[in-house]
């Protein structure tokens, strides 16, 4: 974090003394390293290994695919990082993704101008997240698990009802340029969805570090009762993270629709588990109060590169869950061993 190390003269003296006695220590270095160090190193080794053995890996086409594929997961993972920092999750993001993509496609087929439709979709995400999930968790004082498990089913049904479960095709439709650009476009040779997701990640890093809201999010996750007693508006902060998460799902939905040029009420099923896995892999604590947006990026990239590597190596898709699942458990386990108690 780059905190100034010592404050009191006594502490400074003591530390100076011990520093002389102890000298350099790998243990101390390891304890200070960010929580995602281990995963980051393994990711680096994996990339080096793939470059060395798979000639297809380092092609422009392959890398673009990896990054584009990861960008939607990254957006969702950023939202989940906000939530996990407060000690909550949103299990309904997969269903929300499908519902919002249907809302977007529905507006477009009904002739709503595309800019308006995109904005309305993102706003609808914030409303579904903050206004439904967030309000039920804070004002009705229900468990986030129960609420979002309920809305997981609810949003999925709501996505299917308008078209009887059928896909809305936007292929070759006029006036959807913005959606296409957001999902699949390029600017100066760089993929637009990658730019959008990295931009929102950067914004989130700043929000978490340099705003009072960010401090409130950490305080609520660290100890909700203490935060309340300190005058932090706990409910507003919680509704806020659900709304932000919903808005990010909204952006992801636009990107998804743009990429496949259609909206399906069936997309995103089970994606919440992949997303939570990536965030935990990045070193964010499951019980709240500590998280890392940078770690989340590394966690998402780790899973993306791993899956890409398995594809290139010709490992059957059916086996990929075994690998990613084991890696997740292993990574969290290693982190546990590294930090006693």
């Amino acid at each position: 974090m780059g905190e100034p190390e010592l404050t009191t003269p006594a502490a400074r003296e003591r530390a100076a003394g011990t520093a002389r006695v102890e000298g350099f220590s790998w243990g101390a270095l390891l304890a200070r390293a960010p929580t995602w160090t281990g995963v980051g190193l393994v990711l680096a080794f994996m990339v080096i290994g793939l470059i060395a053995t798979e000639s297809l890996f380092l092609t422009r086409e392959n890398l673009t695919n990896v990054f584009k594929g990861a960008s939607i997961n990254l957006l969702l993972a950023v939202g989940t990082t906000y939530l996990l920092t407060t000690g909550m999750v949103d299990l309904s993001i997969g269903s929300m993704l499908a519902l919002l993509s249907m809302i977007l496609a529905g507006q477009i087929t009904h002739g709503v101008p595309v800019v308006l439709a995109v904005l309305a979709t993102i706003a609808a995400g914030a409303l579904l997240g903050g206004g439904i999930n967030g309000v039920l968790v804070t004002k009705a004082k229900l468990s986030f698990f129960v609420v979002t498990l309920g809305t997981l089913a609810l949003f999925r049904s709501a996505a299917q009802i308008p078209t009887n479960g059928l896909t809305i095709d936007l292929f070759d439709r006029k006036g959807v340029g913005l959606v296409e650009t957001m999902g699949d476009g390029e600017v100066l040779g760089i993929s637009v969805p990658v730019i959008i997701s990295l931009g929102l990640l950067l914004a989130s890093i700043l929000v978490m570090r340099y705003t009072t809201f960010g401090r409130a999010v950490f305080a609520v996750g660290g100890n909700e009762a203490a935060a309340r007693l300190a005058g932090i508006p706990v409910d507003v902060a919680k509704i806020g993270v659900y709304a932000i998460n919903g808005a990010l799902v909204g952006v992801a939905a636009v990107m998804f629709v743009g990429r496949i040029q259609s909206a399906s009420p069936l997309i995103g099923a089970g994606i919440e588990l992949d997303v939570i896995a990536a965030v935990l892999l990045g070193g964010t604590s499951f019980i709240g109060g500590s998280s890392s947006m940078v770690g989340t990026l590394i966690g998402v990239m780790f899973i993306a590169v791993l899956q890409n590597g398995l594809n290139l190596l010709g490992v059957q898709a059916l086996w990929q869950g075994v690998v990613t699942g084991s890696v997740l458990i292993l990574a969290v386990w290693v982190d546990r061993i590294r930090r006693p108690s």
């Binding site: 974090m1 100034p4 932090i232 604590s285």
Partner: protein, 507 residues
């Protein structure tokens, strides 16, 4: 050969040397007191004895046999039992099940619940603990939960028993019960370690006393010849004098005005005023409603009546409104209500600062540093740095963080609930001195405490609550006996309160 030997134990947590070659030997039939300021290493020593943390150096021997580190089962086999400061009980299980957990008696492969209950009840009755083994732990009081923790160790028939601040949260009757248990186990030939911040208790129950300071043993005293003063000198390395911790202050205008306030457990309305510069104590037994009164004033529970700060009414049921009105609150349980222990000193200390700012505002390094300055300069916080997790701080320093976060905003009114519970003598004096400074600067302080010397030595007035009623008010200089009598409802209950309790006017 001593029954229990802790030999040359060293332990380091990060940058802090918690224990430095500490040794302790206790004979069968001996009660050994273990005293020292917070952070002196007492609890760490017990955790090593219990096998919860491994020592960096040194060994634990029972009857000359070395106990393996980090092996709770070996402890049980060797008859070592530790009663920890915080009750380690499962709230959803019965008292009996908690006591017998891990070795529930079975018949033909099935747990025999009647035998569980009978065995547990027998242990409770033998120890003369007034508990019903069948009751669910969640439904019993905090005091009784602590006794359950004691009973669990008793049920295991241990020869080496350690008590870590067991009496700190118990009311006087229960303390006597625990003392009775210790005396009987001593007669049975057990080796007992007794940790308490209440030195008179240590002198009363122990045969000998080991004093720790900064992780080192500073002396072993015979309880028959030791005095509180001699212990304190060894503990803090300096003399502490005086029964009064602060001089009577000049009183200003009324800062906090409480009129006809009633809340859930209070059976009658409460009215009183607190002036700028005044420290008003609230005494009462557990269950008298003292904590609930503070919580109601701070907006944490529904209330009737009127609360004003400097003449302006404070809306009920909103801590944020109370804070905006200038009220600060230090809760009773700092770990569950005060701190995010895994987070840094900086994060914890600035919680109030950021609580007052709009969510959509940028953080301010300067504002944070101001709060941290208050902590290090006025409260002399001992921490490796603002970036170290609060978890690594001693209890006294943790409390400084909880208290210190209110200082930067200069609160008009400070409500403190047991601000020195489980804190060492030296840190207590520092907190007393700080409260004195705050009062002199015009803060009105309301202090709930179960320690009579604290109420007497610190407060300009003491209000006594009994069974949800304000029953008495004492001016400065009341005796412990008078206060205790008013709390317990004895014949010598103090002065009858006037309808609106105002501070005594000075001539």
């Amino acid at each position: 050969m001593p029954l229990l030997e802790l030999d040359g134990i060293s332990k380091r947590f990060g940058g802090v040397q918690a224990l430095d070659r500490a040794s302790l030997a206790v004979d069968a039939g001996e009660v050994r007191g273990l005293v020292g300021e917070n952070g002196s290493g007492k609890t760490t020593l017990l955790r090593i004895l219990a096998g919860e943390v491994p020592p960096d150096a040194g060994e634990v021997r029972v009857r000359g046999e070395v106990l393996p580190t980090l092996d709770a089962t070996a402890r049980l086999a060797a008859g070592v039992g530790v009663v920890f400061q915080e009750a380690h009980v499962c709230p959803e299980l019965s008292i009996a099940e908690n006591m017998m957990l891990g070795r529930l008696p079975t018949s033909r492969g099935r747990i025999s619940w009647s035998r569980v209950t009978r065995a547990a009840q027998r242990t409770l009755d033998d120890a003369r603990l007034p508990l019903d083994a069948r009751r669910r732990v969640r439904s019993i009081s905090q005091d009784e939960q602590h006794l359950t923790e004691v009973a669990r160790v008793l049920a295991r028939d241990c020869h080496v028993i350690a008590f870590d601040e067991t009496t700190a949260s118990l009311t006087q009757d229960y303390v006597e019960l625990v003392f009775e248990i210790i005396r009987r186990r001593r007669e049975d030939g057990a080796a007992i370690i007794f940790i308490s911040h209440r030195l008179h208790e240590v002198l009363e129950i122990c045969d000998s006393i080991t004093v720790l300071r900064d992780g080192e043993v500073r002396g072993v005293l015979e309880a028959s010849t030791a005095t509180e003063d001699s212990l304190i000198r060894l503990m803090v390395g300096r003399d502490l004098e005086g029964q009064f911790f602060r001089a009577a202050a000049e009183l200003g205008d009324v800062r906090l005005s409480v009129r006809g306030v009633a809340t859930e457990p209070l059976s009658a309305e409460v009215s009183f005023d607190v002036c700028a510069g005044e420290v008003v104590g609230i005494g009462g037994l557990v269950g008298s409603g003292r904590s609930e009164l503070l919580e109601a004033l701070f907006g944490l529970r529904a209330r009737t009546g009127r609360v004003e700060v400097s003449g302006r009414p404070v809306p009920a049921q909103s801590p944020r409104a109370a804070i905006a009105a200038g009220i600060g609150f230090v809760p009773e349980d700092r770990r569950s209500q005060g701190l995010a222990v895994s987070q840094t000193v900086r994060m914890n200390a600035t919680m109030v600062y950021y609580g007052k700012r709009p969510l959509a505002s940028a953080t301010s390094r300067a504002g944070e540093d101001e709060v941290l300055d208050e902590l290090t300069s006025r409260l002399r916080l001992k921490a490796a740095g603002p970036g170290s997790p609060v978890r690594t701080l001693s209890g006294g320093n943790q409390q400084k963080v909880v208290l210190g976060r209110w200082l930067a905003g200069d609160p008009h009114v400070l409500l403190l609930d047991e601000p020195t519970r489980g804190i060492d003598v030296g840190t207590k004096r520092e907190i007393y001195a700080l409260l004195d400074v705050l009062a002199r600067q015009g803060t009105a302080i309301v202090l709930v405490s179960s320690e009579l010397p604290e109420l007497i030595g610190l407060c300009d007035r003491v209000l006594v609550l009994r069974e949800g009623r304000l029953v008495a008010q004492f001016a400065r200089g009341a005796s412990e006996e008078e206060l205790a009598a008013a709390m317990a409802g004895g014949a010598a209950g103090g002065a009858v309160p006037s309808p609106a309790l105002r501070p005594p006017t000075r001539s």
